[in-house]
Symmetry: C2
Subunit: 379 residues, 2 copies
């Protein structure tokens, strides 16, 4: 085994083989909508060891299509590690020699935690569209249940990019006493009209797919066409014009001549179709509806009247990062967060990292992020 996969099992910077664990909560979670959700399952993974003082725990929060598998490998045969393996491990930015790193799948998701594809114990059938609307604060409240279960009084740090970053911001507002350091990356304190619009297109693609059947498709053909289109359009927003030009330009799929057909003609088309087709193998269309809806609702300052007011309670220190070519959650939106923090006298470092990779840079630019995060976590 080790001879076949030496890199996975002998890499000193990898957390190695990991397993997803399940936390079952038998109560009811009160949701922002006024509804309740429960009992709850939360899929989570941990890397490193919790110390005796229980003060070395870091929460990592995934983005829209992520899951609890942030680092390491499930089996020696795995070709890909967890989604943020470049950042989590011995000697990495989130150093598992020192920290106990926790990542859980969001409620509403489809990778182990209770979501619309889960069986509703009241009916014995999948929730489908009877699943209640969930929000970013609801996601954070579910994570707090897990935190209590793990016996962690205060996170040493919470970090995540994109929708993960929204939850990071929500954490310090919902539970200011329970977060010491906060690292929101490539994110926003409220979804813009343009981002809501892109989410609306994705949902329209899914909900107009006849296979969607009002969400009751779990025992039949899945709405793969609609979900693939939703993923294709979202994927464009994760890249930059610059990176798409560098990666694909006008390269043709087949050699050097036009085919004059409607099959994908350019490499970028093939790539996008591939992204759509791969996504439907691992993601549930109803989860996509619920999670994009949660993002739409996110507006951290709405209940207090302003972001500055919402940030008044914050006790954590901040490292805010954005990427120069991210047009989904551009630097200007991170600057709004930084301004609100500074207005409240909160200790905040802000860095816009130069990168051509667009929004996806938070999954790619690990060198620069590692330097910044390592320094920040020392303090």
């Amino acid at each position: 085994m080790t001879e076949q996969h030496p890199a996975i099992l002998t890499d000193p910077s990898s957390v190695g083989l990991v397993a997803t664990q399940m936390y079952h909560y038998d109560g009811q979670l009160d949701l922002e909508s006024g509804q309740q959700l429960g009992p709850l399952d939360l899929a989570y993974e941990t890397y490193g060891a919790l110390n005796a003082a229980k003060d070395n725990a870091i929460l990592i929060i995934h983005a829209l299509s992520g899951n609890a598998h942030a680092a390491g490998y499930y089996t020696p045969e795995d070709r890909k590690p967890g989604w943020w393996d470049v950042m989590i491990g011995p000697g990495k930015a989130f150093d598992t020699n020192r920290f106990f790193v926790v990542c859980s799948n969001t409620i509403g998701g489809c990778s182990g935690s209770t979501g619309p594809g889960s069986i509703n114990p009241a009916t014995g059938q999948p929730y489908g569209m009877t699943f209640p609307i969930i929000t970013i604060p609801d996601m954070v409240n579910a994570q707090r249940l897990l935190m209590d279960y793990l016996g962690i009084p205060c996170w040493y740090a919470v970090s995540g990019g994109s929708m993960g970053g929204m939850q990071v911001l929500q954490w310090v507002v919902s539970y200011p006493e329970r977060v010491a350091r906060c690292i929101p990356i490539a994110t926003t304190h409220r979804l813009s009209a343009q981002s809501i619009a892109f989410n609306a297109v994705g949902r329209a693609a899914i909900m107009s797919d006849p296979d969607w059947c009002d969400g009751n498709y779990y025992d039949r053909q899945l709405p793969t066409n609609g979900l693939a289109v939703a993923r294709m359009v979202a994927h464009i927003t994760y890249l930059s014009e610059e990176s798409m030009h560098a990666k694909f330009g006008r390269n043709l799929r087949h050699a050097d001549a036009y085919t004059w057909k409607f099959d994908p003609e350019f490499s970028v088309e093939t790539y996008l179709h591939y992204q759509g087709d791969e996504f439907v193998k691992r993601f549930d269309a109803n989860s996509y509806l619920y999670i994009t809806k949660a993002m739409d609702y996110f507006d951290l300052g709405v209940s207090t009247g302003s972001l500055v007011k919402a940030m008044e309670v914050v006790k954590a220190r901040f490292l805010v990062m954005s990427y120069s070519s991210d047009w989904l959650f551009p630097t200007a939106q991170s600057r709004e967060i930084v301004r609100a923090l500074r207005f409240n006298g909160i200790d905040v470092s802000f860095v816009e990292i130069e990168s051509p990779s667009g929004h996806d840079a938070f999954l790619l630019e690990y060198d620069e992020m590692t330097k910044l995060i390592r320094g920040f976590l020392e303090k």
Copy 2:
């Protein structure tokens, strides 16, 4: 009648009531793909009068979803004039007191000119997906047939925005002797990977709609769901983040409280759905496929090896305009055109117009455009 609609019939700056005319070409048009298309119908409109010297004709070219109805009204009851009525009329930028203005619907379209929804005389059935692939040069070649039919030796000017601008650029390369002045607006000399990607999403939405039926839907339910999604995503690219924020922000559809439902919650969602639903009433899904494909193929310098080389033949003078917030065909792409023209010693004026309106600015910012175009047409 005039008492009911005084504005339409008495406005001295309007071309007033107009009618679409049809030009029938009985031959075959040789297409870039090697196929042929014919016989051809071309729907066109004219405003103003051709002078005796036949040297005052201006060609206006529409964008993806446009048509021959560029100015005026079909009936006194019309609530909306032609798509560029703000620019065409007595005393306007394209002054019909002085110029004979021509606009024709593109081949492949669905507003009178021969397209996939037209009857193929060889079969007596709609072409559907047996319609040949067309390109921007093919569109221009069809316009040249109309030009010859109208007896116009040389256009005083050609102008258009977006896909219209691509054809404008193609005109001066395909027929350098037949264009005196060239006004490409908010356009590009070749479609970028990102733009191809957005077009690919739109086509995927249409072609995965079961009602599309491989394009054979003309006698049954139309693929309205797929076409609406295609329009929704395209519409986002026509606006800017800034304009969407100013127009919609996070305004709610219903009063001031969340509904916690999957119906559109935010005004921007309602708006986008409305855009999709209106579009399917007037546009053919197969035309959408063919025209976006034509845009994908557009690369003015590809056959000569470079844009600079392609521009060597140009004889026209240029006014190039872009908009500061247009991210579909951003200013940098107009600058590439300007550089290639200047390299060839061609007389070119270039203006980036400050506007928050994104790509759609070419339909909206008529004050600034009018000043610039009026001055340019004097020379």
